[in-house]
Each structure stands twice: as C-alpha cells, then as structure tokens.
Symmetry: C2
Subunit: 337 residues, 2 copies
DNA sequence: TTGTACGCGTTATCAG
DNA sequence: CTGATAACGCGTACAA
C-alpha cells in the first residue's frame, strides 16, 4: 500500500540495491537486460526513488522558491508564470511564499529557506522596513538570490527591473501634453526603490515642462481598497486634480471607482494613467492608458539568471542586472472623447 | 561559508549531537542553560537543522502541492491564495505546478509527486482526456488528493465545488427574464464535469421557460484569444444571438471584444453574463454581470480538507464533498441602458 | 541530564 | 557487470 523502497524492490529481483539504483541513474555500466527487468518491475510496483533520500545524498533539492507580496495580482501571477516555465524546463520544482507585504513574514520565509530546502530564491520585496541586515547575514550562506521589480538596493544580488524612470517620465509627459497641469502621483510605499524611481520620473517630467513639483500632490495610499476610496475621495474633492499618475494598478482602479462616484468624466475632467499588467485595460470604462510591464518575461529572466548561476561550475557570485522595457499604451482614459 | 551542520555545532559547544538536537525539538528533557547556550550559538552561526535530513528521518516533507491549469487567471490565483493561507497556518510549504491544460503534463506531475516530495495534492484538472486510470494506480499509494472546481468524477477523492448547476440555471433564467430567446452557451471543454453541470443548468432553464434547446447554440471555444475572436465573430454574425452565457470568464472577454468590433451594444443588442472572478467587473464597459465563485474560500476549504486528513491519526481515507455557493451579480451587461 | 549508536533511502566508491 | 559499504544530516531508543 505504502511507498516501496529500493531495498524491497531489490529483494523482489534478487539483486542488490546498488544495481537497482544504477538502473535509474544514467551512468555506471549495467546489463541492458537486467536494467529493463528492473525498470519493468519498478513500473509494476510503482516504485520511484525517494526524493528526500536522494536530495540528502547529493545535497540538491531541485527546488527554487519565489517570494512575492501577493499572488492575486496580474503582475505577480504572470511573473510567477514565467518563473514556472523556466523552472520546469530545468526540471526544478517551484515553491511559492506570499508575504502580504508583511516584513516579519518576509524575514521568516527567508530564514526558513536557508536550510537546504531550496537551491535558490527569486523575490520581490515588501519594502516595509529599512533594516535589511538580516539579508546580509543570510547572503553569506551563498544561496543565490535574484530580485525582480521590487528590490532592496542595499543588498548585493542580481536584479531584474524595468525602465521605471523613463516610463514614468513619458507617462507624466503624456499627461502634460494632454493639457494636465495639476497631476497627482499616487503611491503605496515611498520606501520602495521603484517607488522612488517612478516618482523621480514624474518630478523630472514636470520640471522639464516648467511645472512646479508640489509635495501635496504626492498621495500616500494603501493596499486596501476601502482606505484608498476614502483617501482619494478626499483628495479629488479638495485638490481637483486634472491628471492622475498611479504607480500601481490598484490605485488607478480605486481612482476609477471614486471618479464614477463623483461623476467625474475620466479622460475629460480627469485623465488617468498607471503601471498595470491588466490584460483587459482596453475594455474598461473608459479604456485605461497603461504602462505595461513585461511581467512574464521578467519572471523568465529572473529565473534564467538564477539557473545560469545554479548550473555554473564555479561559485562566482556574479551579479547581473537586467532591465526590460515597459510599453506605454495610450487609451481613452487620457484621451477623452 | 557554507551551511553548518549539527555535528559541527555540537563540536563547537563540546556537546553531543543528540543534545543539540534536543535543544531544537521541544520534547526530551534538557537543561535550560545548555539549551539556551545552544540556541545562542546556533543563532550566531546561523545554524538551522537541514530539512532534507529531518524529512528523511521522519518521512514528512511538510510540503503540499497545488496543480492547476494556469496561474495568470483570477480564479486560480485567488484559489492558490486561499490554499497558501491554510498551508502557512499549518506550517507547510507550497509547491505549484501548471499544466497549461496539457494532460501529459498533468500525468507527469502527478507521478513525480508520489515520491515523498509532498504529503498531499490539491488539484484542478485539465479534463483533456478520458483515461484517468493513471490516477487510480497512484491513488493506491494513499497520498491524499483533493479536487477543486474542475474534477474527475470517476476518481475517488475529496472535492470542493460550487453550485454550478443552480448558478447556471439562474443566470440563464435571468437572461430569459430580460427578454432573451436566442442564447448561446460558450464552453471550452465539454468533457469537464463542470462544463456538463453548467450546460445542464442552461438546458433546464431553457426548458423551464418553454424555449427549445438548440445544439447549434452551444459554441465550442478555445483557450486562445485569437481563435475565440474568430469563432465568436463568425457565430455572432451568423446566429445573431441576443444572449450570451459564457461558462468561463475569458469567453465573455472575447465576446466583449467581438461586440465592440461589430458595434453591438452589450446590454441592449446582446446581453452577456459569465462565470468570473474578476474584481473589476463593475468597471468594464459596460459593467459585466457575473456568477462570482468564492475562489479564495474554495482554496481554503480544499486545503482544510487536506490538512484534516493529514493531521488525523487514523488513515481512513474519508471522502468529503463540499459545495460552496456562487453569487449572481447583475450588472449593465444584462440590463442595458 | 547527556552521550552512543542506529536507521531513514539513496548513491558513489571500491572490490570482486 | 554486480555487490558490499560508507556517508549524506538528523532524531530517538537506550544506556550511562
């Protein structure tokens, strides 16, 4: 009933465990006939080598981990999709860990994973704290780490990002070109390096157009829809912005709800653009202008970097930094009708 | 530099490995002072028990697997979210496997997982084949399996589903009540049991209203957007349906694109409703009427069933079948304006 | 309270 | 070509 092991299989065949083992691993000479006999019997008894034992033996778990803030999110789920693709191609298994933007959890996950459970980690950080020393400590254990999208700049590791600064600059410039002069910048976490990069693009685009940067137009938001509706409701009433640049998708979504409530005509009264991986942006009412990140490719690229490292003979901890390009897609929400 | 093991740690402390081991595992009496000394040193050297070894020792991997067709999909990503929540609460790790609706891959994953790598499996099937004998074979190994949403009826395992039949009946009835008489039913895979259940609800609602069931109004679609646009473009031109009941979200999305192209006014010329887990259904143009499945809860429930089984002392293979309720949310796409 | 010794299931090495 | 043996790192009887 329960799993059979190599010893029992060997007994059934009147062979030694070593011979049976050889039948499964490619190398080591073995008689063709006996090999076939072994494999046949294995199939019949549904035997497969126990992974925990093999892993212990050669210190390889053939598993990698992905740590992300959330999964019910277009960007991250597509990125994971990309990672999975590469992991599978390499014959690796994939474990996922969700931090829900909880720094404690991030630390806990990272610590747990340094036990031989996984051979490498791909991660998009919470950014909820400034003390990343725990990471430096762990980094010494030399298990490869690759950041994507949301990174800690003070941690020495490979990174996959997009051209956030340029995209933000273009998006903001686009709003300005469409006649916006009071553009709010919506952000969840200003500590994140990508938050900073994106804001810098926004700032510089304003400056380039001779518009002042106003601290009040930078709006700190949340990850909870309810809170965001409150915040944005107040802001839109008080400031009456004519442009909205949302650094993440959910803030644009919240803006849509608020505008619908306030009877603001998106695209005319107020123009909205955001970073987003939403496939159906063009089906929204009105169609949403987006900066679309290549989520799937980012996941693939992060995984490729990781496996390049895992498959390399030498243990040089080569740091790679790959930048992929986002695409600015203009739709009704910034054009109007 | 590399990971330290229990032996080395013991040496540093002039203790035996057993004592050190005891410091980590709760039971077995141990001097409080020595325990603290050990833990302190462990922290300093960043020691953590090797999981592969522990797992081999007590034959527990503390890992479960989720096998789903895809992850870049609102329904599945939320379901995984629910599973993760429960897994984490139970101190378990989570591995994910994506079949991309490829039956071969499903078989391959299932086989690989019966090596002690995971203790249980949660799965939503591809439904691409009719021969599930491979599963029966594996089932004998008695590693717990829980299906959710998409199941194989001929496999004896616990299941979490929604009231597909009733929802479909109500949705179809709603379309009829709104005056539709030529309602197409869009489906990707008629082999799937949920495909059948949903279609039966559709059929029975037609009959209850005295409308004929027309074979031609059941449209076989695909998972690829391009193909669906072709198929639906042809169908909408030829049949001129006044109602669309899409068994999955992506088919409603494709319908939207086609209607926009053909200048059909959704909600008036043609009413659309579908199964969907799209958060922002109300922001679409027009707002999409949906049958919303409790994806997150389904994932949680599936995981709860699995852990109830894993944590139970006796190995009785109790089969549970939980049915959660979907919610019918009427919006503009079936109301018109 | 602590130490000794064995086994979990594999596989590489070394003999034969 | 095949068999015996040791070792991967840990945890637990059992002994002290």
């Amino acid at each position: 009933m329960d799993s059979i092991n190599i010893k029992q299989l060997a007994e059934r065949l009147n062979l030694s465990t070593s011979t049976v083992s050889r039948a499964f691993r490619g190398h080591s000479d073995i008689n063709k006939e006996t090999k076939e006999k072994i494999l046949a019997m294995a199939r019949e008894l549904n035997y497969q080598p126990n992974h925990m034992a093999s892993n212990l033996r050669d210190k390889k778990s053939r598993t990698i981990a992905v740590i992300v803030p959330e999964i019910a999110n277009n960007f991250f789920s597509r990125a994971i999709n990309g990672v999975e693709r590469v992991a599978r191609d390499n014959g690796y298994h994939l474990q996922i860990y969700l931090t829900n933007d909880d720094f404690e959890r991030e630390v806990s996950f990272m610590s747990q994973l340094h036990n031989g459970r996984v051979e490498g980690i791909i991660m998009s950080v919470t950014g909820e704290a400034n003390d990343h020393s725990y990471m430096h400590k762990l980094r010494k254990k030399s298990i490869p780490l690759v950041f994507f999208d949301r990174t800690y700049d003070d941690v020495k590791a490979s990174k996959v990002s997009t051209n956030d600064y340029e995209s933000s600059f273009s998006a903001t410039k686009h709003l300005i070109d469409r006649g916006c002069s009071r553009i709010v910048y919506l952000v969840v976490n200003k500590n994140l390096s990508i938050g900073k990069m994106r804001m810098q693009g926004y700032k510089d685009a304003l400056e380039a157009a001779g518009l002042p940067f106003v601290e009040n137009l930078v709006i700190d938001c949340s990850n909870e829809l309810g809170k965001n509706l409150d915040i944005l409701g107040r802001v839109f009433s008080a400031i009456r912005p004519d442009g909205v640049f949302a650094s993440v998708e959910r803030l644009a979504i919240a803006s849509y709800y608020v505008c619908h409530n306030m009877n603001l005509k998106i695209g005319n009264d107020i123009r909205i653009i955001c970073f987003s991986s939403l496939e159906i942006a063009s089906l929204l009412n009105p169609a949403l202008s987006t900066i679309t990140q290549p989520a799937y490719d980012m996941g693939m690229e992060a995984a490729n970097i990781l496996f390049r490292r895992l498959n390399s003979e030498n243990n040089d901890d080569i740091i790679e930094h790959v930048v992929l390009e986002s695409e600015l897609v203009i739709r009704q929400s910034t054009l109007g009708s």
